[in-house]
Assembly symmetry: C2
Homo-oligomer: 475 residues x 2
């Protein structure tokens, strides 16, 4: 009898694992349970679908359950795994379409359940017009809300990657956009002096910023509330509470309250980040790391033999931090998926670690980072120094300005590179990759200055901005 691999979660990491497992072992039974209605989708493309740059949601669906079936991978959507029994080697699954639960057996299990947005417990958080963005259903709901309700103003709670990309999407639809960020800077995952470039770009595109402000409440449709309130007064107390709750459920959001001000909005995004969607893990005795995500070894195995975890559900070893971290990024998730898929199918693969490389486009500004920010390096106990340079991304005499700012973070004394951030209008994301390679190599800023980087006037100056920054660091 062939072995059975069950995978919890069918987005990027889960399907990467499934595909790899199939390639490794043609005889393995592979079943994927996905809670949402879709598998194998490019979630990072949602903002571009909402913007309208990606015309059809189908363009983001990489492969359908039918296509996986052709590979003998059974992908079941709207199936939620409720519990894992490691001793019995079973999972309890609920079919969300029918409401029925059943038990399934596994020989190997991969947890690829990703992250979930946990909305802050604020008054009015359940109002209509308040969205999170994780699933295809979320993306469709936001796009339909814009089309059907014609909102004029959007508030985005949280100035992270998703928030920035949605600001661009909403502006493309002509909405007034406000971003409220609790930290005193936009994109708190980069250092403040680099974030100012993003803040300037957002302002240039008429995005209003409320930095250092916490949202305290969301306000709904007042007229509706008032009618309900008046009606409720005529009812007994218990009925009144129920009526108000019902009204709140059907009421639309009208404003977000932050710093004492009510910012009008008919569309609100909760972009405050995600937590691992691993409610079943603790009860199953799966060990979590300090970050609260599942702890794994470099084979992606958890503390329980035969149970693996990948993607946003688990930690990843950060080569610069020298420890596992929770930093859910798609390239890491895909790599981990391959490793777990291979190992669960009898192969022998190892995840080599990551350095936290990430990029985002904010209107015409490209932003990328790798390794540790200066503040995170300090938090981790490093003694960081930095070099920041402003240069042009191509030869200075070429037409069309291409300003670029590079920040290198390095260890005082040793000059070991700890991280980098680049902001500019071109050649940013792939320049950060040179520094991601440097981090993997464990290089110093001296090594960096010696790199033989390409030069042609349309692409770079003779001294690439990376080299200029390294030379400044080496002074």
């Amino acid at each position: 009898m062939s072995e059975r691999l069950v995978i919890i979660g069918g987005v990027a990491a889960g399907m990467s694992a499934a595909t790899r497992a199939r390639r490794t072992n043609a005889g393995l039974e592979i079943v994927v349970y996905e809670k949402s209605g879709y598998v194998s989708y490019g979630a990072c493309g949602f903002p571009y679908f909402i913007k309208g740059e990606v015309a059809n949601i189908d363009d983001l669906l990489i492969r359908t359950p039918a296509q996986f079936a052709a590979q003998n991978i059974r992908a079941l959507v709207r199936h939620e795994v409720l519990a894992i029994d490691p001793a019995a080697h079973t999972v309890e699954v609920r079919n969300l379409a029918t409401g029925q639960s059943f038990t399934d057996h596994w020989d190997k299990l991969i947890v690829a359940s990703g992250g979930v947005v946990v909305p802050p417990p604020l008054p009015g958080i359940d109002l209509n017009g308040v969205f999170t963005l994780r699933t295809v259903e979320d993306a469709l709901a936001i796009k339909n809300w814009i089309a059907d309700k014609q909102p004029q103003r959007a508030v985005i709670i949280g100035g992270g990657y998703i928030g920035l990309e949605l600001a661009e999407a909403f502006r493309a639809h002509g909405l007034a956009v406000t971003i409220i960020e609790a930290q005193p800077q936009i994109l708190p995952t980069i250092d403040a002096e680099m974030a100012v470039h993003i803040e300037a770009e957002l302002k240039a595109h008429d995005v209003e910023l409320y930095l250092g402000h916490k949202v305290t409440a969301l306000e709904g449709d007042e007229s509706l509330r008032r009618i309900i309130g008046l009606t409720a007064a005529k009812l007994n107390r218990q009925d009144a509470a129920g009526a108000v709750a019902a009204a709140t459920r059907t009421a639309r959001v009208r404003a977000v309250v932050a710093g004492g001000a009510a910012i009008p909005a008919e569309l609100v995004i909760i972009g405050t980040g995600t937590r691992p969607a691993i409610g079943f893990a603790a009860a199953a005795g799966i060990k979590l790391g300090e970050s609260g995500a599942i702890a794994v070894d470099n084979r992606q195995q958890t503390n329980i033999p035969g149970i693996f975890a990948v993607g946003g559900a688990c930690e990843a070893f950060h080569l610069v931090a020298g420890r596992p971290v929770l930093l859910p990024l798609a390239p890491t998730a895909s790599k981990q998926g391959r490793v777990a898929g291979s190992n669960a199918a009898g192969g022998s693969a190892r995840f080599a670690g990551m350095v936290g490389t990430a990029a985002v486009k904010v209107f015409d500004l490209h932003v990328a980072q790798t390794g540790l920010t200066e503040k995170y390096a300090r938090y981790l106990g490093f003694e960081p120094d930095h070099a920041i340079i402003n240069a042009t991304g191509r030869a200075h005499y070429m037409p069309g300005e291409s300003p670029i700012s590079v920040k290198l973070v390095f260890e005082k004394g040793s000059q070991r590179l700890l991280g980098a951030q680049i902001v500019g209008r071109d050649g940013v994301a792939k320049r950060i990759d040179v520094l991601a390679a440097a981090l993997r190599a464990g290089w110093t800023t001296y090594d960096l200055a010696e790199l033989d980087l390409s030069y042609a006037p349309p692409f770079s100056s003779v001294w690439d901005p990376i080299l200029v920054a390294a030379n400044v660091a080496n002074r």
Copy 2:
């Protein structure tokens, strides 16, 4: 009495050396002799000046002799160094403006005389309208020729970097353009299967290609020649020869003969590459390497203590080839300039070697390479294998196609990366830099596949094309 540093050649490498020497030693006397009329110019920008994208030649002049004088660096233009006397520590210099020669003393000498185009000894090579492109004077002459003579057709002899960039420049002026290349492919410094992309791009922009054809002659103004010939017949034999020679000097080019065909052209570029401009080296006892360029150690010192060489005049240690090569590229020249300038001024710097990274834009196509091509690797005695992939430079669902081709060259067995070539429409030059870093690190294609490269839909797919290529190489 302060020491005296003489630098032969005042373009990129020479002025980089001068500036570094000044920074290292404030008391040093520094004199630069430059044969042409300009110092410190961005020669790589010439095609963009000729095209008209760079409006003024002044934009390419980074610093003037007056600006160097403010740094106490004496930069003398139109001064040619004719000979070096290592024993006497002198150079013989001719002032090309006055024709007078003089002798100058040096304590340290840096040879930064660069390269020179040696026109092939073809009939008609001296015709008017036949140009090389090395100096500011050359660039101005070509641009003036186009403006004054209104040529309709250009032939470029040699399909290397300069030839490709000039093809774009000439097409921008509406000229019909033909490139004649002796090798059976365009850009012989890359592998043939990558060059086909460039050939397609050139053809799409109506550039005619004569590949695998050698130029046998250039033909001049026939009507003028005929008149001279008739006139000459009436003179005695010796006068006739002189008259024909004079007529040839003043005659304009009308065609280039290759493969038996005469290709009409009123503008011809000799883009057949350069040789080190080091006529004075052998007589001075300066040792040359196998390549014919000056041999240097990693301090940029020649066999003669106190004499350094940099840039196109000398070899550079190629980290992948494991030997010194002659591969004149601006970033290497600038780095060598810094090293020599530092050492000549009493510092202690080392050139870490290069990997031959280069890039070029050909119309809308970006082309970049690093390390060894497959054919060069084979020539050097490696046993190379390769992986070629065609992918998109951004997420597949994003609008605007961005096809990209990546070729990895690696050593059979060890999988050690030997080189890479990338051709595409975006994100090419800086992607090759990741591979340049990998070459410096001495990585295998396994290491490459583990890199944590940035991802965002506008910039890359989740699996960056580099990772896809590495995964293919690892199968």
